[in-house]
């Protein structure tokens, strides 16, 4: 669905993207992870034809991104970091504008509002919606014309966990419908939960990419087991025979309360590769 090879972009001589390579298959959720200022939004703008790039190759839906026609763009849905809703217009009217632009029947508006859980707010002006509801309205607009490819730029940034879960559910539903989803986030849990593949972006360079579990396993150098005993004591054991017999003893003594392996997370992988945290800002 998307093919990027050696994409470069500079602003006033400063490189913001360098040697960007990745491929996204049909029906895949691809997560681009990186801290604020890493170049995520710039890459989305380039992939959606909003911004020109300096060098490299980008194919979207088997076409060079420069040659996407209006018809091709109708198969793309975009939710930017700012939700871009008409404040004074109701949820229904907000969606009606885009239903008309995309040539979608007005009956679809109610269907989409129901899908994002805003059916009872159809007549509510967007200015009266909470941030989470605006995010869902923005998603409803993206879903309106059933695009094949969806770009979501930090869709859950600053939202409460409940709304975040609702949005995750909606994203997974779209994946089930066969949509390809390109997602940017600095929330590694979100990426781990939703994405088939991720790329870690730091200062305009992809430092690692692949399936989230495989990426985490690749950097599992420490291989520690964390144990919590009924006495309240915590222990950390290495992966070896000694640890196995120790655990066996603790189990037979009945004093072992919890046991966890401690694989690295995407956050710790990013920290190891870049020395920076994903939530860090420039």
């Amino acid at each position: 669905m998307i093919y990027c090879k050696n994409v470069q972009k500079s602003f006033s001589g400063k490189k913001v993207l360098s040697g960007i390579d990745f491929e996204i298959g049909d029906g895949e959720i691809f997560g681009l992870l990186g801290p604020s200022g890493a170049g995520k939004t710039t890459l989305i703008k380039i992939l959606t034809g909003q911004l020109e790039f300096d060098a490299g190759t980008i194919n979207v839906m088997n076409k060079s991104v420069d040659s996407l026609t209006g018809l091709d763009k109708k198969n793309i849905g975009i939710m930017m970091d700012q939700f871009g809703v008409y404040e004074r217009l109701s949820c229904y009217d907000n969606l009606m504008i885009f239903a008309d632009i995309y040539g979608v029947s007005h009956s679809k508006i109610k269907e989409v509002l129901t899908r994002v859980g805003l059916e009872s707010d159809a007549k509510t002006p967007a200015s009266k919606l909470s941030k989470g509801m605006r995010a869902r309205l923005s998603l409803a607009r993206v879903f309106m014309h059933s695009p094949k490819l969806i770009f979501l730029d930090e869709p859950t940034s600053g939202l409460d966990p409940q709304t975040m879960n609702q949005i995750h559910k909606l994203i997974l539903e779209k994946k089930k419908d066969g949509c390809t989803i390109f997602l940017t986030t600095h929330n590694m849990e979100e990426a781990y939960k939703l994405c088939d593949n991720v790329a870690l972006l730091n200062e305009g360079v992809i430092v690692e990419k692949g399936n989230p579990e495989e990426v985490c396993r690749k950097y599992n150098h420490q291989k520690k087991i964390k144990i919590h005993l009924t006495s309240g004591e915590d222990m950390e054991l290495d992966h070896n025979r000694e640890a196995a017999s120790k655990i066996e003893c603790l189990l037979s003594d009945g004093i072992l309360e919890t046991i966890h392996s401690s694989e690295p997370t995407l956050e710790t992988v990013f920290l190891e590769l870049t020395g920076r945290k994903l939530e860090e800002e420039y």
Binding site: Q50, I78, M80, Y86, R88, L89, I97, F98, Y102, P125
Partner: protein, 233 residues
């Protein structure tokens, strides 16, 4: 222009129509001067006052304020709230958007002018509407230039104020001061006021036509330059 392009322009006009009734700042621009004109023409009668004094005065202020502030504010607000980018991403072309906004504002202003024209002799109405149509078109284009230039509503308001003072108030002030008149004559609003005072093209000076044409051409060039340089970003 194919159906899709016309459809997008009509959608923008429809959106503006829904939005205007909920946007008091823009709505007041459209109805204030027609209302003031009707009230003043009926309420104030002074001996030796020129015929249709308030109609002409407020009409020129209407030309210099309403389309200019409305178009600039609509574009700047859409930029600020990111809705413009969403429209462009939905494959509405910048030209279609700008045409939609300008046509909408021009049409609403013409309706306002129609209300003002109810106080005129029926034989004067076509001339009056033609003069207003020219004025609204140049002002809407000026508003579009400010909208293209401004990054947000605050910047648009700051840019609109001095331009509006020049176009809307100089023709009024020129009635009281000859020096101001010498400057004001170079602006289209002053020339349109002179046409409205005469209410006929008969005896129209060549300079009036030239100044109107130069104002319009300059505005078109400024618009094209800004559009080429900044687009709708």
């Amino acid at each position: 222009m194919n159906n899709s392009k016309i459809n997008n322009i009509l959608i923008i006009i429809k959106k503006q129509l829904i939005d205007t009734f909920k946007n008091k700042t823009v709505l007041i621009q459209f109805i204030m001067f027609p209302m003031l004109t009707v009230i003043f023409e009926h309420a104030i009668k002074i001996n030796d006052m020129p015929e249709h004094f308030f109609t002409n005065l407020f009409s020129v202020m209407y030309i210099g304020m309403a389309p200019l502030t409305s178009v600039a504010s609509i574009i700047a607000e859409e930029k600020e709230h990111n809705t413009l980018r969403v429209l462009i991403m939905a494959n509405v072309k910048p030209v279609q958007y700008l045409l939609g906004v300008c046509i909408y504002v021009w049409t609403i202003c013409m309706m306002g002018a129609g209300v003002i024209a109810t106080g005129l002799d029926s034989s004067d109405i076509p001339f009056y509407m033609l003069v207003m149509a020219i004025g609204f078109a140049i002002s809407a284009l000026t508003g579009a230039c400010i909208g293209l230039y401004a990054k947000n509503q605050m910047a648009a308001t700051s840019a609109v104020m001095p331009v509006m003072v020049v176009f809307a108030f100089l023709p009024m002030l020129s009635m009281f001061n000859d020096n101001i008149k010498k400057i004001a004559k170079f602006f289209y609003t002053e020339q349109l006021k002179r046409l409205l005072d005469e209410m006929t093209f008969d005896g129209m000076k060549t300079s009036t036509g030239v100044i109107l044409a130069v104002n319009a051409v300059l505005m078109v060039l400024l618009f094209l330059g800004l559009f080429k340089k900044k687009g709708l970003e």
